[in-house]
Amino acid sequence: MIEMQDVWKSYANGVMAVNGITVKIEKGEFVYVVGQSGSGKSTFIKLMYREEVPNRGKIIIDGTDITTMKNKDVPFLRRKLGVVFQDFKLLPKLTVYENIAFALEVIEETPRQIRKKVMEVLDLVKLKHKARFLPSELSGGEQQRVSIARSIVNNPSVVVADEPTGNLDPENAWGIMEVFERINDNGTTVVMATHNKDIVDRMKKRVIAIESGMIARDDKRGDFGYEG
């Protein structure tokens, strides 16, 4: 599903963020990415959806080498891959429904498909009753559920999330984790960078720990491993 082979990434300012990572994530896996602040988690995630391009190495998503991919093909990678952020990135003037539909409109999905798919994901994140609300009328947890709904509305095979619970209180965070579990149960691969020790320790999923841009630990049923 996702494969990295000796991937290196340094930024223009000379910071070495990822230093020789080789990793393989199978279809349907649920993977936590943990590590100290500045260890390179976000960079690792960004490499997967080609927000960043590595200096060296190969990254293969769903059989396609995305490091040699042409810029014009990137949109089609993004359509197979949902992305969720800490800060939700919802459009404030659009309702919940419109925010999710937006993701399909801009890839020119038909109106009928849009209606069908949006209702399905609203059901999945349990927000059908708030479809007409504006983001400002929702709690942080609800806003993040909208953002997740948007990321999966096009049935991606992978969802990558960078600290999706970072802005949420524990109760809301658990609500979000339930949603990700459900998505994962449907067969979607989930890769999530997080600082939430509580969640990682309780879920007993695969944990990849990153230190100084290298994989320090990769456990099948791991835990957080240090005091975050």
């Binding site: 949109p75 089609f76 990135k89 801009v106 020119e108 109106p111 096009n154």
Partner: protein, 300 residues
């Protein structure tokens, strides 16, 4: 592209133009002012070029005969002119014939000249003289000028020179002025569109994240630039054509007694040139301005 998508892009671009009210007005005005000057310049240049071209072909000398000269005196003059060695042929053109010629030059606008037929004819009788070689026109004209019963002599060359000088200076000054103005308007359009893009950077970010193509993101801004440029061009086209219409009518009504070469380009032809050129230039400026500012935001 699907009709639904085109509709969406159109709606988005019009919404953006409305949202940036004042910047929209400013960029349209900038384009309008720039193209107004480009258009004026074009109008003058096209006409000057046409006249210069006409005169260049016109290698004959025309000697206008004093109104007081009797038929015998006219014959005398004709003989004298024939004596000049460089003269190839000479042809008498009565004032009536002169007027008819003029009417032919005016084509469908000839009606304005009709009232001047008969006793009201303000023209002089004239001789049309062809020289052996085009080069000799000036010398021949000078010689004829000194003869008795000649009220005036006209020939092409002198005008051609002056006209070409004017055309050259106008062209150089004009080109610099126009380039400056065009870049100013490109800059203003680019800025207006940048404003709409900055205001919507989250939206663009999300579009790119969920897999919208660059072309899809770019379309509304492309249209926005196109609208700014084309609307900006329509204003000077309208104004300039109103001015040209007046000028053209004025020329026909007042200058019909002039030499045949002061003929303006007909209104219809000018309308076609001006509208075509200015709208194309406007569109190019607009699209150029918009694409410059979008490019930066589309880095994957």
């Amino acid at each position: 592209m699907k009709a639904r998508t085109i509709g969406r892009h159109l709606k988005e671009s019009i919404k953006n133009l409305g949202r940036n009210g004042w910047m929209t007005v400013a960029s349209i005005s900038a384009v309008a002012v720039a193209l107004m000057i480009v258009g004026l310049f074009l109008m003058v240049m096209l006409n000057l070029n046409k006249m210069a071209g006409q005169i260049e072909n016109d290698v004959e000398v025309r000697a206008y005969i004093d109104l007081t000269a009797t038929p015998q005196q006219q014959d005398e003059l004709k003989e004298q002119i024939k004596q000049i060695s460089e003269v190839h042929s000479i042809k008498y053109i009565s004032r009536e014939e002169g007027l008819k010629e003029l009417m032919k030059d005016f084509g469908k606008d000839a009606d304005v000249i009709k009232p001047y037929q008969g006793d009201d004819n303000p023209l002089n009788d004239a001789f049309e003289i062809k020289t052996q070689k085009p080069k000799q026109t000036e010398a021949v004209a000078k010689k004829i000028e000194k003869l008795k019963y000649v009220s005036d002599v006209s020939y092409g060359k002198g005008y051609v020179k002056k006209l070409f000088n004017v055309v050259d200076v106008a062209r150089n000054v004009g080109i610099i002025l126009i380039l400056g103005l065009l870049f100013t308007s490109i800059f203003l359009i680019a800025n207006t569109i940048k404003l709409t893009i900055v205001a919507r950077s989250t939206e663009i970010e999300i579009m790119k994240l969920v897999g919208a193509t660059n072309a899809f993101v770019r379309w509304p801004y492309f249209l926005e630039g196109l609208f700014l440029g084309v609307i900006g061009a329509c204003i000077p086209v309208a104004l300039l054509l109103i001015i040209y219409r007046q000028l053209y009518t004025y020329f026909i009504q007042n200058n019909f007694q002039s030499y045949a070469f002061i003929k303006l380009i007909p209104f219809d032809t000018m309308a076609l040139y001006l509208a075509g050129l200015l709208i194309i230039i406007g569109a190019v400026i607009g699209v150029w301005g918009s694409l410059t500012s979008v490019r930066r935001f589309l880095k994957v």
